[in-house]
């Protein structure tokens, strides 16, 4: 067994410091194993969220060496390799959300956003018929594990704090899921534009780069939604039609 050093943020409500730990390493360990080892051998009180330890639940998000990722899917061998020799591995809580303690943050805003999206509204009859091709368009968005790493990384939220005006990439993925669901009958374009502020996204693709589920958030969710908003509200022919007739042209 070799030893590894790492620094973990310890403290409450944003106040605290980086504390260094030395942990014995076994083959194949992931970063979450190290946190557990610290809990079980050194610091029972150390706070972290986790559930499945298999990359399926999205609970153990943290910023490792400054990059947000899942602790359970981050192999120590990779982290040791990426960390320069004169530096120590660092683990911090997600910066975008209010801090609770150690590696745990208050992610409840994301749940408020989830509730604000109107649910699927399809036909009453059962045994819906649609093709696998149609299913797959919505399914990509449904692989989201709600780790909120995209939200943590998006600068509109992280730097500009636009929590009141912008739903963030996770919300756009949810909206795209319903908007592209083969049976959904709800008109979602007004809320995509106004309530969830898709205009704030300037398609830097940071969210896509960090998504552990590999969802192509920018290209497959956000850009098509932006196009639908543009079609509805900014189409010059329709603007002329509205000016002349005073009526909307629905497509």
């Amino acid at each position: 067994m070799t030893d590894v050093k790492m620094q973990i943020f310890r403290g409450e409500e944003g106040e605290g410091e980086m504390v260094e730990y030395t942990i014995g390493l076994d083959e194949g360990m992931v970063l979450l194993d190290c946190v557990h080892r610290i809990q079980h051998e050194q610091e029972a009180e150390l706070s972290c969220r986790w559930n499945c330890k298999a990359g399926k639940c999205g609970s153990c998000s943290a910023e490792i060496n400054g990059k947000a990722r899942l602790m359970c899917m981050t192999r120590m061998s990779d982290i040791i390799e990426e960390t320069p020799e004169d530096e120590v591995i660092t683990v911090r809580p997600m910066k975008t959300f209010p801090h609770i303690k150690d590696l745990v943050t208050d992610v409840s805003w994301n749940y408020e956003m989830a509730k604000a999206v109107v649910p699927l509204k399809g036909p009453e009859e059962t045994d819906w018929v649609f093709s696998q091709f149609e299913a797959e368009r919505a399914q990509e968005f449904r692989t989201c594990i709600e780790c909120f790493i995209c939200q943590d990384t998006c600068h509109v939220l992280r730097e500009y704090r636009k929590f009141d005006e912008f739903g963030g990439p996770r919300t756009m993925v949810r909206l795209a899921n319903f908007e592209m669901h083969p049976m959904d009958q709800e008109d979602r374009i007004p809320e995509v534009k106004d309530e969830f502020g898709i205009g704030y996204c300037n398609i830097n693709k940071c969210c896509t780069d960090v998504c552990p589920a590999g969802i192509n958030i920018t290209d497959n969710a956000i850009i098509p939604l932006k196009e639908r908003v543009v079609d509805r509200y900014y189409d010059p022919i329709k603007m002329i039609w509205r000016t002349i007739t005073g009526r909307k042209l629905r497509t």
Partner: protein, 606 residues
């Protein structure tokens, strides 16, 4: 002591598939409903389910129907199932699946555009509605989104520590603590539904999430409810075995459903030689027949030949792998080889089993489109749990209901893959419905402050301790002990020794020191988990010691054969009397003649 009070018609403990479905139903019936859950919403263990939900929709093979599903479930359970639960489950699961679709679930489709169904062990026909290999995620997200729009209050990251009861034992509510700030809460409720899942964190090699510490089992036991079938623990045959830190993580049965084969170190497909008498003649007897079945299924044809023996029930496959390893024919790291690369194209593997591909690539550095996986048994599911009424899911304690893995009866001695997700939605709905009905019939309970104070004092006690062991150390050692002595193959001396060890563990848990912080203190929570784990491990070891035969998810090295006598129609019942866990046996109720006819029991007595 200070606490916050709440009043509800129905409290649901747990927010996995069963809990969410129960809450949706209770609320739909007009009950004021709350969910109290240990983690954030959408993170419960249901999210890890992979292969699919079994329902006789008949979309992929129209020969299927509820009667065949009933027969398969009873046979897989070695006929120790509660027959009525098996019947209700087979009859209602199709409607519950269709309902999920209307709430937003997007299942994979057949060529005709209907919900597709996949083959799984023990199911006669392709029966599992699925989404690739992440069906659990689909189901929990669908129910979660329905739930938050159903008027249900949700207390996330709250843990229920105690149930409250009045003088005649009726359940009147519960005490919970909020992990985020350590505050205590008392809930008065006309009905309480336990939907806390299972117990498999009691074993060091397991596929369960951190929540699986037997909380609901222990709450029920301490409230005087009966637990049944606690000896039956499903060791899923295919967990990851290497590297050590991922040992136990699940490899879906869907790999075999999609044609994956099991081989030993000599390259032999050993399942052909491991068919128990009760399944003789049900499976392919040559590689040619087996390959033809895979060809037909891949081509979307109705299978006309028998399925590969890799699709035998989980108990059978797990024991076969165990035997290969014990006899020196294991893989490099002590498992068996599960090979899909030689059976299907890389494109098909990535499309049908995306999360398996990702999991092995990221965690083990193995590309499953090119190399075989190494797999071995992992503690996966407990068939045993709270004894419930088949129709209403009410336990033997008035006002206390249970649904999903924490309840028992549907699966008998062994659960078929895919029957768990459908169990959650069928019996979750029923629990919600009948808990809400009860709420219209009884008064809002008045809680006794002395009981609440006692519960809170017990919760706070660990924080005041000076010195003492780290609870994490006790946790690790308890799990290692259960793995060694109450594992997949059991024997009398080890089970007796486990029961002795558990007494010592109980003492140690009472002296652990988690530190003094009340804010998101993981160690403090672990002390509470440990208390439940010791109780439930004791129930499991005691039941395993008592049953002197091998059947389904219970294998005794010293009694290796099924007993055709008493144990073939006897249930172990566990309850707590004056603080002691006691066990007795009861005669199993047999199905009525019209259902008995559906079973092929001729081969039962092997």
């Amino acid at each position: 002591m200070t606490f916050e009070s709440h009043e509800y018609d129905v409290i649901v403990v747990g927010a996995g598939g069963a809990g969410l479905r129960a809450a949706i139903e209770a609320s739909r019936q007009g009950a004021k409903t709350a969910i109290i859950c240990k983690s954030l919403l959408g993170k419960a263990h249901t999210v890890m389910a992979e292969g699919g939900a079994a329902a006789a929709l008949g979309n992929a093979d129209d020969r299927d129907g509820w009667k065949v599903h009933f027969k398969d479930t009873m046979k897989g359970g070695k006929y120790l199932n509660n027959w009525r639960m098996a019947q209700i489950h087979a009859q209602e699961s199709a409607d519950r699946i269709r309902e999920l679709e209307q709430w937003g679930a997007v299942f994979d489709r057949t060529p005709k555009g209907l919900i597709n169904q996949r083959n799984f062990g023990g199911h006669t026909y392709p029966r599992l509605a699925h989404v690739g290999d992440s069906t659990g995620l689909e189901i929990i997200r669908t129910l979660q989104e329905k739930g938050i729009h159903s008027g249900v209050d949700i207390f996330m990251e709250y843990t229920v520590s105690h149930l409250l009861q009045n003088d005649d034992g009726t359940c009147t509510g519960c005490v919970a603590y909020n992990r985020v700030d350590g505050a205590m809460h008392a809930f008065s409720s006309k009905s309480v539904i336990l939907a806390t899942g299972g117990i498999t964190r009691c074993w060091s090699v397991c596929s369960g999430s951190w929540e699986y510490t037997g909380d609901g089992h222990a709450l029920a036991l301490n409230a005087g409810a009966e637990l049944i079938d606690m000896e039956f623990v499903q060791f899923h045959p295919t967990g990851m075995v290497w590297p050590p830190s991922v040992r136990g993580i699940l490899v879906t049965e869907g790999v075999r459903g999609e044609g994956g084969v099991l081989k030993n170190s000599e390259g032999v497909r050993f399942m052909f030689d491991n068919v128990p008498d009760m399944f003789k003649g049900d499976h392919a007897e040559s590689e040619e027949e087996s390959n033809e079945w895979v060809r037909q299924v891949v081509a979307g044809e109705i299978a006309t030949v028998r399925r590969p023996p890799e699709l035998l029930t989980r108990d059978v496959v797990a024991k076969a792998i165990n035997k290969e390893v014990a006899e020196g024919r294991g893989s490099t790291h002590g498992g068996a080889y599960l090979d899909i690369a030689s059976q299907r194209s890389p494109e098909e593997i990535i499309s049908k089993l995306p999360s398996m591909h990702h999991q092995f690539k990221e965690l083990a550095g193995v590309d499953i489109t090119k190399e075989p996986m190494e797999v071995g048994p992992t503690a996966h599911y407990v068939m045993g749990g709270v004894r419930v009424d088949a129709e209403t899911q009410e336990s033997t304690v008035a006002g206390l209901f249970a649904a999903g893995e924490v309840a028992s009866g549907l699966h008998g001695a062994n659960r078929l893959g895919g029957n768990s997700l459908s169990d959650l939605i069928v019996f979750g709905k029923r629990a919600g419905e009948f808990a809400a009905k009860r709420a219209t019939e009884v008064e809002q309970p008045q809680l006794d402050n002395a009981d609440i104070d006692a519960a809170i004092a017990a919760n706070l006690a660990p924080l005041a301790r000076e010195g003492g062991e780290n609870p994490g150390k006790v946790y690790d050692e308890l799990r290692d002990m259960m793995q060694e002595k109450v594992g997949i193959i059991r024997k009398e001396a080890e089970l007796e020794s486990a029961l002795e060890d558990l007494k010592e563990f109980a003492t140690r848990v009472g002296k652990t020191n988690p530190g003094s912080s009340m804010i998101y203190n993981s160690g403090w929570h672990q002390v509470m988990d440990l208390t439940n784990m010791v109780e439930i491990s004791t129930a499991c070891a005691l039941a395993a010691l008592t049953r002197t035969e091998s059947r389904g998810g219970h294998t005794r090295e010293d009694h290796p054969e099924p007993d055709n006598g008493m144990w073939s129609h006897t249930t172990n019942v566990i309850r707590k009397i004056d603080g002691d866990i006691v066990i007795n046996q009861e005669e199993l109720i047999q199905p009525p003649a019209e259902l008995e006819e559906l079973l092929d029991r001729v081969k039962k007595e092997d």
